[in-house]
Structures are given as C-alpha cells and as structure tokens.
Symmetry: none
Subunit: 217 residues, 4 copies
DNA sequence: TATGAATGAGTCTTCATTCAT
DNA sequence: GATGAATGAAGACTCATTCAT
C-alpha cells in the first residue's frame, strides 16, 4: 500500500505524485476492466498513461497493489457519494432509497470494476484482501445504518440490518453481472425502481407503507 | 470442442474416455474454483488427476476448453436437475418454488463454479463463449416458463417472464458471490426462503396470494 | 536399419512385413515431402497408413529410420531404373543421354523427396547418414561409368568423370529445387534437352560431336 | 516484421537496436545453418549472443521472423555485392562473368544459409515466404539484366534471359548443395571457371566468342 | 500383431520486475 | 524522476516413444 516516491517534503511534489498515481490507477482500472487483470499487462498500462513501464514501479509496489488501488477507487466512490446523497435527508425511507439509488448508479457507471472485485480479489495477497473486505464492510454499514434507522422508527420490519444491506448490495451488483444481458431491455432507472419495490415490499411495516404512500402523493 | 481420444469405437472405450474427461473436468473445476483460472496450471490439474500433463490434451484441446467443460458441467446440473424437480408438479406456484429452490441449491453446492462463470467467461474465445451464453439462456428459459405458466393462470402479475427469470438467477448467484460473507449467518435454506418471499411478494396476484395461503395450510 | 518384426520364419510373413514397411515408408515419404520432416508427426503417418502409431515401431526403430527408409527408396529408384535404361545400349553417347534422362525424370517424379535429402540429411545420426552417402556415391558411379566409357572411346574429353557426374546430378537436382519456379515455363523434357545440350557442349570431343551429329540424322 | 524495441527515437538508440538485431540474426544464422532451423533452440541462440532468451523477442516477433531475417541477410549480400561488382564494367561479357562470379562466391561463403533457404522456406508463414520469393526474383533480375544486355549487343544467343538466370543460380547453388562432396576436390575458383565455361559455351554467339577470345589475350 | 492411452522431456513464448543510465 | 533494455522464471502445449492389454 506504500509507494516509493510517495510524498517527499514539498506538498507540490506530493500533489504531483498523487496525480500520477491517479492516472496510473485510472488506466489500470480501464484495462483491467476491459481485458481482465491477467490479460492486461503492465506494459499496456504504461503505454496508456504515456509512460515507461519502469515508472509505474515508482508509484506502486506491485501489479497486485495496482489492482488494490483500482478496487479501492471504487470503494472511494461509495464512501464519498453515499454520504453526500444522504446529507440533507432526515426521513429513513428517503435515506434508504437514496442509498440504494446511489449505490446502484455507481455500480452502473463502472460495472467492470464491480466485476473485477469478484474476479480478482483472489489474486490479492491476504493483507490487501483484508483491506478491501474491511472497506466493503464499511460501505455496507452506510446502508445498514439507514435500515436500522427505519427499524428504529417503526417503518421497517425488525430484520437483520446488516444482512439486508447485503441483499441490497447483491441486487446492485446484479446489474453489473448481467449488464450485457439486461442493458438492452431495461434502463438502470427501471432496475433501481424495480429493485426498490421488491426491497420495500419485503421491508416496510404497515406504518412504513402508509408513510411511503403519503410521500408519493 | 473435440479431443483426440474422444469416443473411440467400442462403447467400453467411450465410457472410459468419458470417465477420464469427467475426472479431468472435476479436477479443473476444483482448481479453477480455488485458485482462479489463470493461477491454476495444467500441471497442477494433471497432478491432481494423477496423470501426466500431456494426457490432458488427449481429452481437451486447450486450457480454454477445459474451462468450457467446467462451466458446462454447471449448466448440465441446471439442465438436468430443474426439469427433474419440476417433474411431478402441476401447480405453477409449486413449480416456480421448486425451480428457484433447485437453482439456488445448485449454486450453493458449487459456488466457485458460479463465480468462475463471471470471472473467466472473458477468457473464452468467442465461439466457446457463445456456447455458454446459449446454454445460460436455455437454463433461464426453464425458470421463465414457470413464470409464464403462473401468469397464464392468473397467479402471477403480467410481468416480463424472461426479465423476471433473470432476477431469480441474480438472486441465486448472489449467494455464490457473497458466500464467504453470508455463510456463517444464514443457511442456504434461509436464503432460499427469504428470496422466494421477496420474489413472490413482487409477483403474486391476489388470487395467487390466496392460492399460496391455501397451499400453506 | 533393422526392424523388430522383420522376417520371422515364414516367407509369407516376411512378405507381409515388407509390404507393411513399404506402406509406411510411402506414407512417410508423402508427408515428409509435403510438410517437412519435423512437421510431419508419427501420428499423421500412422493415420495415413490406417494404423496405430505404436505399430510403426514394430517396423521401424525410429522416426529417423523412417526418414532413412524414405531417402533410401529414392536411391532405390535410381539404382534400379538407371541400369534398366542402359540395358540395351552400347553407344556411350546414348548411354550417357539415357542416364541423364532417367536421373532427371526420377527427380521430377518426386521432387520433394530430392529436397528432403538436402533438408533433413542432417537429422540423421551419423551412421544412417553414412549409409545414404554411400548409396549416393553408388548412384553417382552409374553416371560416372558412362562418362568414363565415353572418354575411353574418345568421344568425351578427358575430364574427371566423377566430378562431371556430380555436375549432372546437380543439374538434375536443380529441377527439384526450382520446380515451383520453373514448372510453369518449361517442361521437364525441355529441361532435360537443355541440360544435355550444355553438358555435351562441354564434354564432347570433335569425334564425339561428329558421332552425335550422325546419330541425330 | 517489426519488434518492440525497434528503432526508438534517438538515432543512437536506433543504431544499438540495429546492432543487437544483427548480432541475433548472425547467431541464428550460424545455429540454423549448423543444426537446422528446428533443432536450433531460441535458448541456444540467446546463449550464443550472450543474452537472455526473453530479449530476443524484443527484436524479433517470432522464431519464424528470425529465420526470415537470416534468409534476408543472404539476399542482402546479393543485392549489395552484385551491383558493386558490376559498377565499373561496361562490357556485357565482363558484367555477366562478374555477376556469376559474385553470386557463386556469396553462396560459397555461407553455404549453410543457401541450404537453409531450401530447407526451411516452408516453415515460414505465407506472408514471409512471399517476401523472400519477391527478393529472390529481384536478385535474379540482376543476372537476367546482364544476359539481356549481352543479347542486345549480339554477344549472347537470344535465349530467355530469366530462365537462363535461373540456370546460373542453380549452378551456384549446386556448390552449396554439394560442398561437402566437392570441397576437397575442387576450389570454388575452379567451380566458377568451369561453370562459366559451360554457361558461355551454351550462350555465346560467334561474335560473342570472338570478343571473348580477344578479351582473354 | 496391433492398439492407443499414457508419458514427460523439451520448446517457444510471455511478462512482471529490475537497474544502469 | 524517468527510461526501456534486459532478465529469467514459469506456463501452455507438442510429440516421439512406450507398454499393458
């Protein structure tokens, strides 16, 4: 997770370093997504960044670490976008809906990255894999919290919040997995609406249902 | 898709050939599942079968074809088990439930194989990939048919049967994808029951719901 | 040069053995000629004979020996056809012409075999290579003798007969080497006539030339 | 026909690249010539250059391309040496003799390379093979032109120049093919003189013969 | 005699990674 | 920081050859 050239003394240099690393990560994400982790070569990635293969190793220890960076960048998206989407919202129903919506849209934006997580997590050494898992759990908690709130307010049935959050995640990932099959027949908006319908159908208490009906008016 | 030693003249020889191929496929499935397609070497597979590396190429043209065989064996399971499970059943509700149940259990039995399909389909040449896709669609149709029946009898709402079948498949695959996370907290039976609940909650007409309640008595 | 199954007790069996070996040699010649010694596999050869790969090893020790057999079969052709062509002829000029003609036609009949000799002699172990060389020299002698006769009778200039025989052989082989280039523009008959013209132009004494002119009448 | 490291940006780098490639080609030529294309391994070649096997693939795409490079280098020798030899000469007779002489000497310098062309052209993919053929034809034209000149000036009989050029080439190649047999008995000078004698004997018009006699004085 | 499944050494080739410049 | 030539370990695959049946 470290990098040789990482942040020396000057903040300017540190920023440049971060930029380079971001460039590399993006290129890697693109190529890993398109060709798969194994098929994408370091040389390809360097070429795409417009840099020599050797340089990548100034910013990354390993091809594995590059994979980590890519997966991390996806988790970053969740970690920043979901809280942002929830920011103004008080109502647990609205919060839950927003969380689901945001999660699904992030998946839909980079379906290959989501796939990559399933495909190649195994390729990571244990330590890196643990890191990813930890962050996934954190992301999950963002959703689980919305559910817990709903339960606390009597809008959701008293389900296992964490488990239900996994349900949400699975549904969202379902889009990535079957994108090639679904993309023609259904928009991501349809998919989200539909998924939410199912989830709420299973979750809402009568009170919750009533509240929802009012909100829809 | 053929191989040198494939089905000689005598049926006895053919059987032996089929057995060997099955052995190899199984070993490959195991190793691909455990280490990933790229990380598993032909040598490893041969070793596990207790055979020399060269021999594998008497039964398989390619490492790729071996992957195909593994993926195919999973699809075989669907193609044979689901119809078997539906065999005695008339009631669309029961049929649907049986299909979902069977599908999920097959996934749960070999979750790595399901993962493999997502992971490495890309590694297949187009022709083989098409083969897999075709068979996936066939499998899907088994479920879609149950749904269509239910719709025809007024038990299910008039949804797009095919799309809904994908929903089912995604849910089932969800178990495979998150096994490592769910397995401790939830049995596959719980998962199936829960999934069915959600699906039926979204699908059943009032008539269907009533019928279901009666059946549950 | 030996073979395991070679000539047991019964002459009938021996004949069958010889036939099999001839079949195998022919198939090998065909395939070596078409694809090259290395590219042609024992399996291919067996397939073409309609026999299992293992069987070949009852008649031949080695792939190398098979090559030897093929090369030998070409030398057999020279060894039997040239003497046959010379049989009735007394006149050294006619004998020389017949030898050249026959040699060239054998080359033209199986140009790939001639090429093979150049291509793959190197692949033979020393002992087998020596065998081939010895037989080549014998063949050469058939031509050299004609030349010596001509010299003895004052028809040819007193050249080095053996060396001149090589010249003849080279010219004949030239057809095999460049067959793909010449075949369209020139028949083998033209080639022979032309070659003979050159050779005789260089060889004939005035007496020889006169004798030739008379014979042409 | 390209290679990764081929001609970088700076001319200095380009020169180094060209040198490396030349080294590799030379080593390959040597080993292909000695052991044959198939028997010579990439590892052997690398070893001989004093380099790791992987490096070769920075300069060459394929073992096949390496063969092409070797064959090409022989054709380069013709393409540069023959015109150089003809440079100062006006007289068609002298030009023809010089062309034949040069061609033969190039063959004699690297007989294995000439053999290689016959042996392994087949191993080349069609596109590379075409390339070689094209260059062979060009080389041939160098000789054919001399012949045409001679005809135009009435020194040679009106033969088919191209065909006759093939004759010359065959004769020259004859030396390579039979080196092992002829080398002890005859020098290349003898061989050339002798060959020229035969060729001119067949080609010269009376005028040409007279001119030749004058020149010899 | 004949089979053909099985062997296993050996090949080409790829590619992450290093390091002198 | 940046380059890119060089490394070398490793993998898929082939095929002559063997041997139990």
């Amino acid at each position: 997770m470290s990098a040789r050239a990482a942040g020396g003394g000057q903040p300017a240099a540190a920023r440049l370093t971060a930029e380079r690393r971001a460039q590399i990560t993006e290129a890697a994400g693109e190529l890993f997504g398109r060709r798969g982790y194994h098929a994408a070569t370091m040389r390809d990635i360097a070429l795409r960044v417009g840099v020599s293969p050797g340089l990548i190793y100034n910013y990354v220890e390993d091809k594995e670490e590059l994979l980590l960076l890519v997966l991390d960048s996806l988790l970053d998206a969740y970690a920043s976008s979901i809280p942002a989407a929830l920011a103004g919202l008080r109502d647990p129903l609205a919060r839950f809906a927003a969380a689901v919506d945001t999660y699904c849209r992030i998946v839909a934006e980079r379906p290959e990255a989501t796939l990559l997580a399933y495909q190649e997590s195994r390729s990571l050494r244990r330590s890196l894999r643990e890191h990813i898992k930890r962050r996934e759990v954190e992301t999950n908690a963002l959703i689980a919290d919305c559910i817990s709130d709903g339960i606390a307010q009597g809008l959701f049935r008293p389900v296992d919040a964490e488990l239900t959050a996994y349900r949400v995640v699975m549904m969202a990932h379902g889009w990535a997995l079957k994108t090639w099959r679904l993309a023609g027949r259904m928009t991501i908006d349809d998919y989200i609406a539909d998924s939410l319908e199912m989830l709420l159908g299973a979750l809402l208490t009568p009170l919750g249902a009533q509240r929802r009906a009012e909100a829809a008016r």
